[in-house]
Symmetry: C2
Subunit: 125 residues, 2 copies
DNA sequence: CAAGTTTTGACAACCATTTTCGTTTTCGCC
DNA sequence: GGCGAAAACGAAAATGGTTGTCAAAACTTG
């Protein structure tokens, strides 16, 4: 893992929520780094390929990334105000999606599940 | 609902899977329509605003649309080969996401759930 | 230190989507 | 049927996130 890639990974770990490539680029530049936008994209691509970060798409089509605690399959409960994310696991959903798939004769079933809401902190405000 | 919008809705209904705006534009032009790309986008926007079609994002960030049988909240089981989609309902997931949200003090909880796989038809090939 | 390899980053290219804006169509009304 | 306002249309340009290009910089190895 090159120095640049580590820097991107560190910047991502410093946040508790999902960040876009542009966000991270801004963060790193603000910290005095001379990194280029292209490199940030390349680093995120590599990190997601190796499974070190999770990726998902916002409703606007922007890709957002997160450094997760576990490398196991899991989902997220994301605050739609501050974008903080809690990692959640769900034997229930895993079982349910597998059943649904089987019922309709589908093979190689996978799924995407994301839960959105307003976190306790932001609900108060 | 204007004529153009009906045409887009009809083109969408003619397909059993999710189609992108560009796909629909190509379909309509192939059928001899003189519709413009802008209008297709506008029609899809209006149709999704009024809840007549469902929208989701591919992994590549492209928006894809589908004319659904029911207007109720539901999810999809999508074939990753031919993109045919089956509408599915899941009291189980609805309950599960609500619980997860409550457990972490989140309010106004919503969710996105999509299931992917290879349909029986495409599995054979 | 030199030659070769990898990484980097400024800039241009891409492509789905949105905006702009002048033109055309639709619709209510006489 | 004819008129004028308002809505719909569509071609072309603008936008914005993301990817490709390529020469310069950094690191490796002998």
């Amino acid at each position: 893992m090159s120095t640049r890639r580590e820097a991107v990974h560190r910047a991502l770990t410093a946040s508790s929520g999902f960040r876009s490539a542009q966000d991270l680029y801004a963060d790193l530049r603000a910290d005095g780094s001379k990194i280029g936008l292209t490199t940030v994209y390349r680093a995120l691509q590599a990190l997601s390929d190796s499974g070190d970060v999770d990726v998902l798409r916002t409703d606007e089509g922007e890709a957002v990334y997160r450094a997760c605690d576990t490398e196991n399959h899991h989902h997220h409960l994301v605050c739609r105000v501050c974008s903080t994310a809690v990692e959640i696991e769900g034997p229930t959903v895993e079982r349910w999606t597998a059943e649904i798939g089987a019922q309709h004769g589908f093979t190689g079933v996978t799924h995407t599940v994301e839960v959105f809401g307003t976190c306790a902190e932001c609900s108060k405000a």
